[in-house]
Every structure is written in C-alpha cells, then in structure tokens.
C-alpha cells in the first residue's frame, strides 16, 4: 500500500496516475491492508480533477470491498460523502455501483441499508440515465432483504414511480428490479406474474448486458432471466412451476452454456458468472463434492474448497429440467417435456444431451406424459441417433397395453436413426413381438418397417440372408405368404432394397414371386424395384418420382383449361353443350384418379358440372312444349333430376374443405336453379292455386336471402339466372304466381352457365373404415335382445369438427337403420387434417334364422343453418333472434362418405 501511495504522489498527470492504478488493480491485496489502501485512494480521489482517474478509483473501491475478511461498513460514509460532492455523472454511477457491492457484502446491517436507500432515493432525480439506473438497481437489491415493512413499501413505490421514466433503459431497470423482487413474493399469483414479466423483459431486450450484484461481471439479460426462471421450477406452488417450465421452452436465445446446465443437477458452477479457465479447473475438482447416491459411502465430504465458487441456491437453474421432469404433478412434467422439445429443436447439441432424460420419461407412471415424451422425441429425432441401449428402452414400450402409445412409438421409429445393424435387428424383433401380441397393429407396424428399411439400407443389407432365412446350398421352405410377420420382414427388406441395388441378388426365387404379389396387393408399402430379368414398367407408374412435381402443375393447367372450355357455352340450350360437358366430366374424373393431389378439386369440378348437365337435360326435355297430361313420365324424370341436383349441391357445400365465399355462392346459385325447376314442375303438374302461391312466396324469400348473404359476390354472378331475376324483381314481386312461373321458365332457359373458379386448395372429406375389415366369414353371434359391441376403427381426412359431424350408420338387412353419434373422446388427432375414430357401436336385433350381413358406414351430417350462410356465422345471438335469420327452412341431412363395410352377424334366440 505504501508503494501505491508513493506512486500516486509521483504521478504528475492523470494518465500516469491511471497507469499506476491499473497496475495496482492486478495485484492482490490482503484483508488487513485494505483499509489503508482505501484511505490512500480516497485521499487521492479528493485531490484528483480528472474524471477518468476518479472513475477508476471508484471502481477499485468496489473491488476492494469484496476482499475476503474485510468489512466495508467503515468506508460507506466516505463513499457517500464523495457521492455528495461528485459532479461527474459517470463517476456518480460508478460510486453507486460500489455502494451496491458494499450493500451486498453487508446484508445484515439495517443502518447501512437505510442509508443506502436514502442515498439512492436522492440520486434518483439525476438527469443522467446511468445514475438513475444504478439507483434503481441498488434499491432493488437492498429492498429485497427482509426488513421493516415500511421501508419495503417505500422501495416498492419508489421503483414503480420509475415505470414511467422517459428513458427506456431506466424503465427496463425499474421493471427488472421489481420483477426480480417479486419472484420471491409470498403469493403464488404474484410469482407467476413475475415469471411472465421477467420473460417479457428477456424477450424485449435479450442482448442487453446486466451486471450481477454479487460480482463485477456481466451477462446477457436473457441468460440472467433464464437462470431466474429456472430457479422457479422448484417453486412451492405447482401453478408457478408449470408456468416457469412453459416459459423456459420459449427462451430460445439463451446461450448453450446455460442451457446445458439445466440438465445437470450436480454441476455447481453458478449460472451467474462467466468463469475463467482457472476457475473452471477448480470447479472440475469441486464437482466431486456431492455424491450421486448411486454408490455406497462415496458421500464422505472431501476436502473443503473455497466455497465461494460453489453455490447451491444461486445455481438454481442447475438441473431445472431434472427437477421438472420428476415433479410430483404431471402437469409440470408435461410442461417440462414440451419445453425440452422446443429448446432441443433449436439446438442439436442440447437435443443430444436431453435424449436420455426423454427416454427415461417413457417409464412415467402417467400415460399422457409417456405419450407426450414419445411425440417430443419424434419431433427432435432429426437431430439424434439412438444408441443401442436407448433403443432398448424405447422398444420396451412396444409392449405397452395402450394403443395410442404403441402407435406413437411406431411413428417415432419411422423417423429414428439408429447406428448399428444390431439395432435394426432388435427393432424388427420387438416389432414382430408387438405384432404377435397385438394383431390389430398390423398396418402401423408395416408402415413403420417401411420407413425403417428405406432409412437404413446399408444396415439391413447384412441381415438379409438371416431375415429371409436363405441358405447358400439348400433350398429352404417357402414361408407362408399370409403371415403378417413374414410380410413385415419383406416390407423392411424391399424398402431397403430400393436404394441398395446389390440386395436383390440375395433373394431366392419365391421372394421375387412374393414381391410381385405384394407390389400389387400392398402397393403403398412396397416400392417399385429394378429387379434383374424383369420388365421395367416405369412409364405407367404414377408414383414415379422426378416428374411428379411438374405433372401437378400441368394437371392443374389442364383442369383450368377444361373449365375455360366449358365457359364457352353460352346458355343451357346451346347445341353440343351436353356432349362437351359429358366429355369434360369424364376427363376431369380421370385426372382426379391420376393426380391424387388434385383429386379433391377434380371431384368438385366434376360434381358441379354434373349438376349443370342434369339441369340442362331437364330443361331440354320436350315436356315443356307438351300438354301436362301427356308427359307424366318425362315429368317424373325431371323431378328426379331436380332432387338429385339439390342433393349434389349439399355434397358440394359440405363435403369439400377449403371453399371460399365465391364457390359457396355458386353452389347456392345452382341450388336456386334447382328449386326454380322444382317450382315450375310442380306448377305444371299440380292443380290448385293455393299450394302454388305459398311455394312461390317461399321461393321469393329464398331469392332475397340469397341476395342478402352474397351481396359481395353479386358482381361476379353477372348474366346468371339470379342476376336476371333480380333485374326483374320489381315485376316479380308484383305479379301473380302463374306469371312468376312463366318468367322463371324463360329466365332459366336463357341464363348462361356460371363459370366455376377454383380456389387454391380443395379437399374432399374422406373416411376409410379399417376395422371391421369385412373379410370375416365367422358371424358375430349374440343373443337377441342383448347387445353386442362392434369395434370400429376409421381414419378421417379433411373433416372439420368431426366430433359434431361424423356419425356411424348401421343398416340391418330388414332395412332398419341406426345412426350412432360417437363420443367426442373417441376421436384422436394424429396429424393436421387427419382424424382417427376408434369407437364401439352397439348392435342388437331380434332373432334371425341364419347369419346375415349388416352394413356399417360413416355419415357426415350437415345443417344448412349452421354453415350454409357464411355471413350468419358472425351474427350475434341477439341479431339472429330479430328475424334476420334466413327464412329458408333449415335443412339437415347426412352424406355418406365412406365405403360401406359388411359385417356378418347372427342374433340367436334367447334360451329359456
């Protein structure tokens, strides 16, 4: 210290002094000489005029007061004195920082605290933002100590006053000081809100640098916030824990160094400091300090290290996820798993590290958690390769009794990478075991093996002889082609063979035959192979890659052109129009078969065109010129056509997803035409005026409703039926019903064909019943009067809101039909636009003499009230009640949208 004194006295100008100080800062100072040094520094401080030197001295004071064994309370007064006399803002800020250090060193002295609070309050009115910032920090830090309540209140209100500061940096500091304090509030709602607040701050200013109160180092705000929130994962209230775990998942900007600590409970490096290499080396030594509890007697305390570096609570972020994953409440566990997923998706290294933890979660006691962790693993599986032992744990879950879990696992296996051929063998073995135990998983297992094979061709190759049980010299017996296990093996091998041309050489003769069979029967599972001595039929293969994307565009073009051609038809009576429509319908339908991506749009077009065709045919009937009694027969066909058009329009409206308002208007337009046709027909056939008048009124109301709901679309409907009718509207509403019918008849015949414009995407809702298969010859026997449960498993695609619309219909041979509404819980959602219905329907009937087949099919129910008018959707409850509701009678109906499946049943008479 004496040397320093001499040096400082020698220094003639400020640069020299600064140099000396910098040199001094590198040397260690013993606890007993600190006070002396401080005095010398202060003395020099008073004399110094240069701000940079004063700044340095102020920071040195802070450093010195952190010296072990030195109690800085004696210098508090000095610092506060200098604070009062200081003019430079920067130095002021630095001095306040020093006070912050002193304050953290003296947590147990209320007098010092009181003074610090006073000082910082005084300087809060400073004009420089840095000073205000520091003051708030000081307040936040000092105020957190347990203290008299009054002081606390003060601090809180003072800090909150600065929420409205003009400088954003100050606002941040104020919020931060507040939020960090509130994290340790007594009430869980407050803590939960504080977690959110810290998160918002970290998202707003992720890169701003914040100092750490306990040291002079600084870290990014997002890292600091991450540490603080990690801490909350071990909070007392589970609501807060859920909140914290969820929040962690969305903090993607956090540094990897911090991220990895969340998986290690024992790593005691505290999160708050960047560490020097030296410190890290020390830490490596220190990490042996706590035992893991896995070995007996390894927990004898080792040599006590400098415990300052090892920090149990400040390092709360250590093992945040370990805590979260073994939390008592499954809500927290699920939140933690989700957070892991989000973080792992953005960081491959982290994904690798958290793998073990996720695999461990497969053993969770709650099925939901297991399922969730399987899904998560699937999502991050692009980043990882499973080791054999991990795969082993994963595969053990295949024996789970829950179907959802097994299927999720199959899906996971589709996307996993494995490292060795043993893994493939293991996976195959377990999958076959699974197939044996749960035969219903057949499709799922095959699909899984398909992907497994195509992903790892080189790993499958060495296994082929064993898998196909071929022998170099002997012919082995030909396996049974109907064995699902054998098919599973073949699916694996063929898919691997696709990208491994040497593999087919290992096949035996019957394998080729089986290939041909499977290629036909299970074409979605078996890829085309270039096999020696076989004709290449590449050209006909629709799934041939390469040209696929191009053909979609050309097909789309073709579709559009066909539609354009239709638009050349001027009106419905034009000659040759029918033929053109017929051909176009045929073309479009064929296109839909070839190009699966466009099948929805093609179907939609075809149906629409068919409506037009029907309408056209009906209008061209000769019956219009004949007298009524002479044409009864033709009349009947026309009536049937009108009804069919109506049905088709409902299909158009409700079976296809992705329709825009424009298309809906077009569909409604067709429907209106069909209704007009019906009206004309009924006017011709039926005698008596009264029913005619009422139906005319109804029709007029419908036109009005149409006009109301498609006001915006009317310009597009130029020259159409409705357009013409609306022109004549004043006349129509005035004239008698007979006149009206005449007007309708002429307009209908003169109106042109409305052109259909296709939206971006049209999907047709489809359903496939997987179970029952309809192949069984064994009737389901049950006693009449009792019920039998029939398991139904179906996949639905592009169905909106299946819970409310999808129904199961059972048709008995006697024409009786039952419609069953499945429970909402029976629908699962494995992917976007895909649903799975797994349910049971109960069958019952009176006794039969012999077994017979019933039909099961799925229905899509619709109601014109709920969705026909898109505008009525946003009518409020009150609006709809005051008569704005369309007067059109609500039409409810169902559309069958799956192939019917036949089930053999046999109700036996009850035994007496």
């Amino acid at each position: 210290s004496a040397a320093l004194h001499v040096d400082l006295c020698k220094a003639t100008n400020s640069t020299d002094a600064l140099q000396y100080l910098l040199q001094f800062a590198r040397k260690p100072v013993e606890a007993e000489s600190v006070e002396g040094v401080v005095r010398i520094l202060l003395e020099h401080y008073y004399k110094e005029t240069d701000t940079s030197v004063r700044l340095k001295i102020a920071s040195l004071l802070g450093l010195l007061s952190k010296t072990q064994g030195f109690r800085p309370d004696c210098i508090v007064d000095d610092i506060i004195n200098t604070l009062c006399n200081e003019k430079s803002h920067q130095v002021l800020a630095q001095l306040l920082d020093t006070l912050l250090v002193v304050g953290t060193e003296l947590p147990d002295s209320p007098a010092v605290r009181q003074r610090l609070v006073q000082v910082s309050c005084k300087h809060l009115s400073d004009t420089y933002f840095g000073v205000r910032n520091k003051c708030l920090q000081l307040l936040g830090c000092v105020g957190t100590w347990k203290d008299t309540l009054g002081l606390l209140r003060d601090v809180q209100s003072i800090i909150s006053d600065y929420f409205g500061d003009q400088d954003p940096r100050v606002r941040t500091a104020a919020l931060k000081a507040m939020a960090c304090r509130l994290l340790s509030d007594d009430y869980e709602q407050v803590r939960s809100a504080a977690v959110q607040m810290v998160w918002v701050l970290s998202q707003l200013y992720p890169e701003s640098i914040v100092p750490i109160p306990s040291s002079n180092e600084e870290i990014r705000l997002v890292d600091d916030a991450f540490g603080k929130i990690s801490h909350m994962v071990s909070d007392g209230s589970w609501m807060v824990r859920v909140q914290a775990a969820k929040t962690l998942g969305s903090m993607l900007q956090v540094s990897p160094h911090f991220l990895e600590q969340t998986l290690d409970k024992k790593l005691m490096s505290d999160l708050r400091r960047k560490r020097t290499a030296h410190e890290r080396a020390k830490e490596l030594f220190a990490s042996g300090e706590f035992s893991s509890g896995r070995k007996w007697a390894d927990d004898a305390p080792k040599e006590k290290l400098d415990t300052n570096t090892v920090n149990l609570i400040a390092s709360g972020a250590c093992g945040a996820f370990v805590h979260g994953l073994e939390d008592e409440m499954f809500e927290v566990r699920i939140a933690a798993v989700e957070a892991l997923c989000q973080l792992a998706r953005s960081s491959p290294t982290f994904a690798e590290k958290c793998l073990d933890f996720l695999v461990d979660m497969f053993n969770d006691e709650i099925e939901e958690v297991r399922l969730q962790s399987i899904h998560v693993l699937r999502q991050i599986s692009t980043h990882i390769t499973l080791r054999e032992d991990q795969l082993d744990t994963v595969l053990a879950v295949l024996e789970d009794s829950s179907r959802d879990i097994r299927e999720a696992l199959h899906e996971l296996l589709c996307y996993t990478n494995v490292s060795t051929k043993e893994c493939i063998q293991l996976a195959l073995l377990e999958l076959l075991k699974n197939l044996n135990k749960y035969p219903t998983d057949r499709n799922s297992v095959w699909k899984c093996l398909k992907f497994l094979g195509s992903r790892h061709p080189t790993l499958v190759l060495p296994l082929v002889p064993e898998l196909l049980s071929t022998h170099p010299y002997f012919d082995t017996p030909e396996p049974d082609m109907d064995d699902p296990a054998y098919i599973a093996v073949l699916v694996l091998v063929f898919n691997a063979a696709k990208s491994c041309p040497t593999m087919p050489a290992l096949f035996s003769d019957h394998t080729f035959r089986h290939y041909a069979y499977l290629r036909d029967s299970l074409s979605h599972l078996v890829p085309p192979l270039r096999l020696p001595g076989r004709k290449q039929v590449l050209g006909l293969d629709p799934v041939d890659s390469g040209s696929a994307s191009g053909s979609v565009e050309s097909a789309q073009l073709f579709l559009q052109q066909s539609l354009n051609r239709i638009s050349t038809i001027q009106n419905l009576e034009a000659p040759g129009a029918q033929d053109l429509l017929n051909f176009t319908i045929r073309d479009v339908q064929r296109l839909g078969h070839l190009q699966t991506q466009l099948s929805g749009a093609a179907d939609f077009c075809a149906t629409y065109l068919r409506c037009q065709l029907l309408l056209m045919k009906a209008l061209q009937e000769k019956l219009w010129n004949m007298a009524v009694p002479l044409c009864l027969k033709q009349n009947v066909t026309a009536t049937a056509a009108a009804r069919q058009i109506l049905e088709e329009t409902y299909k158009l409206e409700f079976l296809y997803g992705g329709l825009e308002n424009r298309q809906i208007a077009t569909i409604h337009h067709v429907r209106l035409q069909a209704k007009a046709l019906q009206l004309i027909l009924s006017a011709r056939t039926r005698q008596g005026l009264d029913p005619l008048i009422s139906s005319c009124e109804k029709f007029l109301q419908e036109i009005e409703a149409f006009q109301r709901s498609f006001l915006t679309e009317l310009p597009h409907l130029h020259d159409s039926f409705v357009d013409k009718l609306l022109e004549l509207k004043p006349r129509i509403s005035a004239c008698s019903s007979v006149e009206l019918v005449k007007i309708l008849q002429t307009t209908l015949r003169q109106s042109g064909l409305l052109q259909l414009r296709l939206p971006e995407q049209i999907h047709r809702a489809t359903a496939t019943i997987i179970e029952p298969t309809g192949e069984s010859d064994n009737p389901l026997r049950f006693t009449s009067g009792l019920v039998v449960a029939l398991d139904i498993d179906a996949t639905l695609e592009h169905v909106q809101d299946p819970q409310n619309t999808v129904k199961v219909q059972v048709l008995y041979p006697d024409g009786q039909s039952h419609v069953i509404h499945p429970k909402p819980g029976d629908f699962r959602k494995p992917g976007a636009d895909r649903h799975r219905l797994i349910t049971q329907v109960y069958l019952s009937h009176t006794a039969w003499t012999e077994p017979s087949q019933i039909e099961v099919r799925l229905l899509l129910s619709y109601s014109s009230a709920s969705s026909s008018l898109s505008s009525s959707k946003h009518l409020g409850w009150s609006d709809s009640s005051d008569g704005l509701q369309s007067p059109e009678a609500v039409v409810e109906g169902t559309i069958p949208f799956s192939k019917p499946v036949k089930v053999f049943i046999m109700p036996k008479p009850a035994r007496r």
Binding site: D186, E289, S292, G293, A300, L325, D327, F330, M361, E399
Partner: protein, 571 residues
C-alpha cells in the same frame, strides 16, 4: 429477550432414536420418541432422565408430537408413556396412528419373544399408549392449550409422515421429521408454506449427497433385478415393512406386468398385508397418480406379489424376495441372507441407509467375511448392490425447503456429524442465517425478537406520542401518564436537576444577575430569556438564581435548575 431452547436427546449428530426437546414461550414439547437400531441395551432409548430424575414426565411436557411411524421416530413411545410415565397428549397423523401400533407390536415380539428380553413394554402398554394419541389432519391448526398451537404439513417420506409447525404467540418452530422433496411412485413431495419460523429443525441424512434423477435410479434398479433374474439368480431386497417397500413393490409390479415376467415376487411377513391395507385406505396421502386412478384400480392391490413362506427360500429357480428388516440386523431378511450368501448368482440390493454396526453396513463397506454369533463366519459371495431409494431429502432438497420456509435459524439433526458440518457451512454461506447442530444432550439457545401486540386508546394516539410519557399497563394497553396516575391514586412528582456554579464578582446580587441576563441575552439569540421580578432569570425552562455566600460577599453562587425533560432534549 425470550429464548427458544432445543435439546436433542437422540438424533443429535446421529441417526436413530430421534427425540428432541423444545422449550418455546414457556412450553415444553417433545418431538418424536424413537429407538436406536444399532443398540440392544439401554442406549436404544433416549435418556429420559435428562428431563427429570424420578417421577413422571407429565408435568414437564406440554405435548409429544410423532412425525411418522418409523421405529427410530416412535419406537420408545410406549416405554416413555407407560414405563417412565406420561399422561399428556400425544399428536400424530391418522395414518401414523393406524400403522404405528402394528410396528410397535412387531418390534416387541422380536425383542421379547425371540430374544427373550425382559423389562420391555407389553402389548397392553402399547394399547394404553395409543389411547393417549390425538390424531392430526394435514393443514389443520390444533390448539394444544390456549397458547400453543400446532399444524401439520405433508412430508412425503412414508405414508402419513408430517412436518409440524409449532407456534406460541409470535414465536414458532418447524420440525421436519424425515421428509422427501422428490416425489416417488406412491407418495408426493414435501411442501410447506412461507411460515418464516424462528427455528427450522431439519433432518440431514443426505447432507452431502445430491442425487441423480429419480428415473435414472429406477431404471438402474429394474435393470439389475431383471439381469439377475434372467441369470437365474435370486434377489433379496431387505426393506422395512412400510415405506420404501411399497414404492419398490409398485415399481416391480408395473415392470413385471409390462415385461410379462414370470419369476415370482414374494413379500415376507404377514405384517405387510395389514400395512398394505392401510395404504389402500389412506389414498388421500398418496401421490397424484394413485389418487386419480384408485377408482378403477387401487395400485396397492398387487397381482404379481405374493406372501412369502419360509420354505420358499430353498425353492429352485429365480425369485425376488422383499424381507424385513431393512438393515439386515435381525429377522427374516438376515435368515434369507445367510441362506443365499454363498451363491454368486444371487444378489442383495440394499435400497436404503444402513446404521453403523448392522450387517447391511458391513457388507456395503465391502466386508466379505462376516462373523456371526457363536464364532461362525459367513462368506459373502453374492453380489451386493446399493441403491439410494430411501426417501430423505438430499442437500438440494434441504436447501429447497429452507427457501420455501425462510426460517431465521436452522438446526440440523438426524445425520452424521461430519456431513452436518459440511451442510452447515453451505447453509450459512447461502442464506446468511445461523445454523446449529447440537449433539445429544447439548442445548441450543436462540433468542427471538417477538413483536408484542399493544392496544391503544384512540384519544391517546391522536395526541402526540413523542413526549407523552405513556406507560405500559396491564395486558399491553397503552394509557396516558395522567390517567395511569389517577387510576393508581398517586401524585405526580417533579424531578429537577440543580447545579451550583461559584463566581468571583464584586457586584451586588441583583447587579450580578442583571449582568448575567444581559450576557446571556447577547450569547443565546433565538431563545426566550426572561428577567423575572422575583430575582431569577429564566432561559426557556432553566432557572438561574444568584446568592452571595455567607463568608465572602464577593463570591457569588449561581444556582441552576432544570427539569428532566430538558436533559432529554439536550441529549
């Protein structure tokens, strides 16, 4: 200053025979009353003569609280209440009250019937003792008497384990008993609210351990068992009848079901069936999963686990046996161990802590030759595995609890001294609170700073209180001094300080006084100075008089006099 005194009679820097005396606000409370597993002589019970040399304990204790049913926490209860003599209330939770007597009876049978000890408590004594028990509910505040109230919190560890918050006035102590901060297959995690007690008395069995993730441990355990079974070996898992046993049973049961294993699992002693019955009964004390699913299937109805018969131990083929007691110090587990120790295919898995002196402790420390009673030695060839399944909080868990409760002082019991020392350092550094670790019989005294509630009349409060001279009176009610005097029938006394100063001044007395007056007037500006006609000068309330001394007229004596309020003001 009021004090809280804590004296461990057992479990001070030691594991076993937990028994802690607490004196708080004039109340004496005994926390736990356990026995020591490592001793078979008088040392197994706490030394109750510390409380009183002769006679009954009833008048010295206000209540006894038992945290959970493990014998090292309740084993000495019948001895204390019936043989030493105690008739006051004993508090425990409902499950503890139900299970405790079963264990005590079992313990008694082993000691008296098997070892033939005399001078031990009888079945009747256990029954009599249990009659004094008052059951507690979680989070229910129970008034022991007008001042003392206790409240139980969930502690995990075993079924019915509780932490107790003891409160007298504004002073409070929390005793954790044994607790677990990580939930397991059948119990939840300990929880306490921010009650800020004066002392937190915590166990510290795993003071130097931070355990791996629980799932990791479970996987390890299942793997070891599975491998051994596939080799055709027999697996012995020594457990205490209740607690870990049930967790491991659930674990193995679900594993067996999932892996479809056929090897039999046995559970020794009929005691367990009785105990399992209670586990089925007290569903509200178990964890979330069991609570939610018990309507469909109670997890404690085991499918694969059957009762053990002694003859099964010699059956060929693999098997898993849970046997009591857990530290291999006596009973069935020791018998089976002796039978199986010779075969290296077999395995013993110690799922928990073993007290020094037990065989469990010895084999875990790698001893391969054991001396049995009667000079016989036993070669230990079977594999010995340790698996920390015991449900105590680890270092991180203890820190977490401290953070939850925010105590002002910390006191560690139920742990080994060296390890405690380590944790003590950590706690002091981390939370800057005092941490104590008294040995058995050593008293720790903590002074508290309780706030005393005081009522005050509105009138008095409205008057300024700064110099009102109020006195405390009666039961903490503030009254003004006048009223107090009136009520007590006393006159008010004036206290004045006087002082004489001698001056040499030739003038006459009034002249001197006048000179002093003018001088003071010039010096003390801003003060009211009066020259009163009766020959005195008043400076504020200080009176100055002048008189000549009798001998020498030139020597003047100045008499100063002031009241005591002035003294206060000057200071």
């Amino acid at each position: 200053m009021p004090e809280i005194k804590v004296t461990p009679l057992g479990a001070g820097q030691d594991v076993g025979r937990s028994c802690i005396l607490v004196s708080i606000g004039g109340k004496n409370i005994m926390l736990d009353c356990g026995m020591h597993m490592g001793y078979n002589d008088d040392r197994r019970f706490p030394d109750f003569s510390y409380i009183t040399q002769n006679g009954r304990l009833t008048e010295f204790l206000d209540c006894v609280i038992i945290s959970h049913f493990h014998l090292d926490h309740c084993g000495a209860l019948p001895y204390m209440s019936e043989m030493v003599g105690y008739d006051g209330p004993i508090y425990m939770t409902h499950p503890t009250k139900a299970i405790c007597p079963i264990l005590l009876e079992d313990f008694r049978k082993i000691t008296v019937d098997k070892k033939g000890e005399t001078n031990f408590f009888t079945s009747q004594m256990i029954k009599d003792c249990m009659k004094k028990v008052i059951p507690l509910n979680l989070h229910q505040t129970v008034q022991v008497d007008d001042e003392l109230e206790i409240k139980a919190y969930y502690a995990g560890h075993v079924l019915g384990a509780a932490m107790v918050h003891i409160k007298v006035g504004s002073e409070s102590v929390v005793y954790t008993g044994d607790y677990n901060m990580t939930p397991d297959r059948h119990l939840g995690a300990a929880w306490i609210d921010k009650c800020r007690p004066d002392i937190l008395i915590s166990e510290s069995t795993y003071a130097t351990t931070i355990r791996d993730s629980k799932r990791c441990r479970e996987r390890d355990f299942l793997k070891k068992v599975h491998e051994s079974i596939e080799r055709g070996g027999k697996v012995l898992i020594p457990v205490f009848a209740l607690g870990r046993a049930q967790e491991l049973c659930i674990l193995l049961e679900t594993f067996w079901e999932r892996m479809n294993l056929k090897a039999p699992i046995y559970f020794s002693t009929g005691l367990t069936e009785k105990a399992n019955h209670y586990y089925k009964l007290f569903i509200t004390w178990t964890n979330q999963k069991i609570r939610k699913t018990f309507v469909q299937r109670n997890m404690f109805e085991f499918k694969h686990i059957k009762a053990f018969d002694r003859s099964y131990a010699d059956n060929p083929g693999p098997m898993v046996v849970f046997a009591t007691p857990g530290m291999l110090h006596a009973g069935q587990s020791l018998q089976i161990f002796k039978k199986w120790a010779g075969n290296e295919k077999n395995m013993v898995i110690m799922p928990g802590y073993c007290v020094q002196g037990t065989i469990g402790h010895k084999i875990l420390n790698g001893q391969r030759k054991l001396e049995m009673e009667g000079r016989a030695t036993l070669d230990v060839k079977l594999q010995v595995e340790y698996m920390s399944f015991s449900a105590h909080a680890d270092a991180k868990g203890i820190m977490q609890l401290i953070r939850m409760a925010e105590p002002r002082n910390m006191l560690l019991v139920h742990g080994e001294a060296v390890k405690m020392e380590f944790l003590k350092g950590k706690i002091e550094q981390e939370f800057s609170i005092n941490c104590y670790m008294p040995a058995n019989g050593e008293t720790t005294t903590v002074t508290t700073n309780p706030s005393v509630p005081v009522d005050i009349s509105l009138n008095l409060l409205k008057r300024e209180m700064a110099l009102g001279g109020t006195v405390c009176y009666g039961d903490g009610f503030l009254v003004s001094s006048e009223q107090a005097l009136k009520e007590l029938g006393l006159n008010e006394h004036q206290l004045r300080f006087t002082c004489r100063v001698q001056l040499q001044d030739p003038h006459s007395d009034p002249d001197t006084l006048h000179r002093i007056y003018t001088h003071l007037k010039s010096v003390l500006k801003g003060y009211t100075i009066q020259h009163l006609p009766d020959g005195t000068v008043m400076v504020e309330s200080i009176v100055i008089k002048v008189s000549s001394s009798a001998e020498d007229p030139n020597t003047k004596v100045l008499l100063l006099s002031w009241s005591y309020q002035v003294t206060f003001l000057r200071c």
